[in-house]
Symmetry: C2
Subunit: 193 residues, 2 copies
DNA sequence: ATAAATAGACAGACCTGTCTGTATTGCGAA
DNA sequence: TTCGCAATACAGACAGGTCTGTCTATTTAT
């Protein structure tokens, strides 16, 4: 049986397909018809699970947040075998991400740009996600240098965000090296006081 | 008379209107009909000057680059009365921008996100613009500390780009203070060697 | 049989781009 | 000055396609 919490096979396929297409081509560029065609699902099945496209967008963003956190967790663990500096692991994972096929930046940055209206649920979720993400990053900085972290963590966050948009626009992952170098130096300087 | 190189009143109105609407609501969210209505221009007048929407988008980006450079020039001159540190002037101008009404981030970042396809003329122009902008910024850093600039200028660029997206997503100009603090410290450290 | 998913037509709006026809304007020639 | 000419812009209908969202009716699986 797959009815109560199996979350419905059709629903899962819609979510995965929409996530892929939205990320790759943009929220506005991808229509419902395209999603149901590639998901192999009837239109009514989609609208049963997601009453409107805005609802679907929000669900996709939530789904993606889980996937992003999972990605960083496993990628950092993989790099964690070589060094115990978790901040270094983070930048190694970030580089993996930039170099992954189909990389098109941060879905939450992109959503905030495409949605334009800051009151849109998707834009608000993006804002909340960025706060959570920054919180994780600040945790890594604090793990490195303790108390002084609050002084540099926000700047490290800006370096990461800047590296993401720059990598997208320039079509190259090089920015991550710049960000890592600057961030590690900043953190080292702040920790040595 | 207003015929030969007056660049056509209608063309100018289309460009200004499209620039405003595209920036405020997004390239895909704004249609041709909306532009001609608000510009008070006939559809054929628009298509005479800009054969397609993609052509219009590209023209708007070029137009905006001029406006952006003008803005920074005058804003920096205004702040230049108090300090001769041009890098500080730049961050003061950046803050003015973030606080200006209707601020919605960098049109070139936004265009790169919305266009998705990196081969689109608009995406390529955005990429080229960012290189030019980074060149200007690097010039300011070099003016501060000379040779060592090449080591820190790219990171300063990332801080600026990160501050822009963060200000948009968070709906607050605060990120500019973080970026300025980190950038000035980085530059000072690099200069003192 | 009941619940869920299927296929696909449909409405109504909006999209880009084309087309026709009219009004306005400046300018050289009569 | 007055006429006609050419360029420009105007208004708006139109074609052909796509968009979101609704609806009906059929199929499948439990």
């Amino acid at each position: 049986m797959e009815q109560p919490k199996a979350a419905s096979e059709a629903r899962r396929r819609v979510l995965e397909t929409a996530d892929r297409l939205f990320y790759q081509e943009g929220l506005r560029a991808v229509g419902i018809d395209r999603i149901i065609a590639e998901a192999g699902v009837a239109k009514m099945s989609l609208y049963k699970h997601f009453p409107s496209k805005d609802d679907l967008i929000l669900a996709v963003l939530k789904y993606r947040e889980e996937k992003v956190l999972e990605f960083f967790q496993t990628a950092m663990e993989r790099h964690g075998k070589r060094t115990k500096d978790h901040l270094r692991c983070f930048f190694a994972a970030l580089k993996d991400w930039f170099e992954s096929p189909g990389f098109r930046g941060c879905a939450f940055q992109n959503a905030a740009v495409e949605l334009a209206d800051p009151s849109h649920a998707g834009a608000q979720f993006a804002k909340a996600h960025k706060r959570r993400f920054q919180g994780l990053l600040a945790g890594l900085v604090e793990e490195s240098i303790g108390k002084g972290a609050a002084k540099v963590a926000p700047a490290v966050g800006l370096l990461v965000e800047g590296a993401i948009v720059t990598a997208v626009i320039q079509g190259s992952p090089d920015a991550v090296d710049v960000a890592r170098g600057a961030a590690l130096k900043m953190v080292a300087d702040a920790g040595g006081e």
